[in-house]
Symmetry: C2
């Protein structure tokens, strides 16, 4: 293992599937010169309903594969994997810098709503671990936090049901009970604690008041990546065009079709390289 990585090495981005492409998209927008290598563990998704032991084992295998290919930094672009495995991955992959999405998302929400009443929308796995609650209260002891598992919204995002009555109906089924009661107890901050949920932002906004902030991790995580690259002097210089490589462990055609929605760019199956972990 080298102690000093080459700036031309890609930033590795790991997710259980295609949701992490919302984070990849934000990194690409903020850091257009950087080479990027994305791995979606589509053979074993979703992580959100699996046990912590399984998620940890899968994440270890997937990130080891990215390290072997050569990356200068690793982003765990999956809330469940960040919640379960971030510290273990940081230890196992040291000195490679490893960045998760939970801390940046929590920091952005605290910044938007000091002493806020946060409602975290996430997968069952992320909620069970309470990772956002811990991060929010550490950053802001005055914060109050509720966490809500919204498994159906993961499938909804993958199906591309992002608008119209049906999108509002599903999102509302989860959110309306949370938004009831005296206004002093209603959330004033919603945190999109799953990388699938940014594409449901408009549907979520349609069922909550304008005064409620909606925070996702993608943009803030990209800012943390930019800062870390700068601190470690690992930014890539101007030069040849940046490359984007996409790896998946299963189902290239589904990855391309569903992933295009999350990346905001059309993909074809030929763009996706299948790897066996």
């Amino acid at each position: 293992m080298t102690n000093k990585a080459s700036p031309d090495l890609p930033i590795g981005v790991f997710d259980s599937g295609v949701g992490g492409l919302t984070v990849l998209k934000a990194i690409r927008e903020q850091l257009p010169r950087e080479n990027l290598l994305y791995l979606g563990d589509t053979a074993r998704l979703p992580y959100g309903t699996k046990s912590p032991a399984s998620v940890l084992r899968y994440a270890m295998q997937a990130t080891a594969h990215l390290r072997e290919r050569g990356v200068k930094m690793l982003v765990i672009a999956c809330n469940t994997a960040s919640a379960v495995a971030l510290e273990d991955l940081q230890r196992a992959l040291a000195p490679l810098p490893v960045i998760g999405v939970v801390e940046p998302g929590a920091a952005a929400a605290v910044s938007a709503r000091p002493a806020g009443r946060h409602l975290v929308l996430a997968t069952e796995g992320t909620v069970r671990l309470g990772a956002y609650g811990k991060a929010l209260r550490r950053l802001d002891p005055a914060a109050s936090v509720r966490e809500l598992a919204c498994e159906l919204m993961v499938a909804q995002a993958e199906e591309g049901w992002t608008g119209g009555d049906i999108a509002t109906a599903i999102v509302g089924e989860y959110l309306r009970p949370m938004m009831a009661g005296p206004s002093a107890y209603q959330p004033d901050s919603i945190i999109l604690g799953c990388t699938h949920f940014p594409i449901l932002r408009a549907a979520i906004r349609s069922v909550v008041a304008e005064s409620v902030s909606i925070t996702d991790s993608a943009g803030t995580t990209a800012s943390v990546v930019a800062r870390e690259l700068s601190t470690r002097r690992l930014q890539r210089a101007d030069g040849a065009a940046a490359t984007l490589r996409l790896l998946a462990t299963d189902g290239a055609s589904r990855f391309a079709r569903v992933g295009g929605t999350f990346l905001g760019d059309a993909l074809v199956a030929g763009d996706i390289e299948l790897v066996d972990l």
Copy 2:
């Protein structure tokens, strides 16, 4: 491998997760004396969006485990695995009898609607393989068939959203476009081609006319099991109370909570034995 299994050995029932419990339930109702051993491959679910190669590999590993434990017959209580892997599993596990759910479901639908206009609701994997279409046309050359992937209904069933406006809205989003057009072209038969969907039967009925038949595989598969046991003289005699053992590859607490809905019986995590494939 023995050529003649003991009637006291359990019937093995294999599924990717908890949906196959609808089939187990039907077998238990028709054959209350039989010992049953169920394996849900919850660590790798869902199969419906995975590639055929992955589904085949997973099904081979899981069924090999059931055979090692000792079963007298094997039921593939997962439509995707039946569509992908039934013939391979029958070859690999011979002389153990192996029964899938696609053929029994197709036979029941053809019997209910000769020369029918069938609409098969299934996972993406089952639809891609066209297994129901092949089985229906083989049984009834006059049948017409459309197959529709309804991934969100899998998540809906697991979330327990089986009734009320939201259940009708999701099911209707898939079905209403299929039910439009001149009545001579509308389906007169709906086949529940995923083991999750029987618990959505009432919601499906609420958006289609009473004249449309709704068929699931669970009851007919149980009848095929009963007939095969009889033919092979493998029925268990009266005697000690029948046993039911439940195995899963991950997440006993989620298995118990979600699985109880499908089995129609409360389960607790302590009832579920975790196995590592």
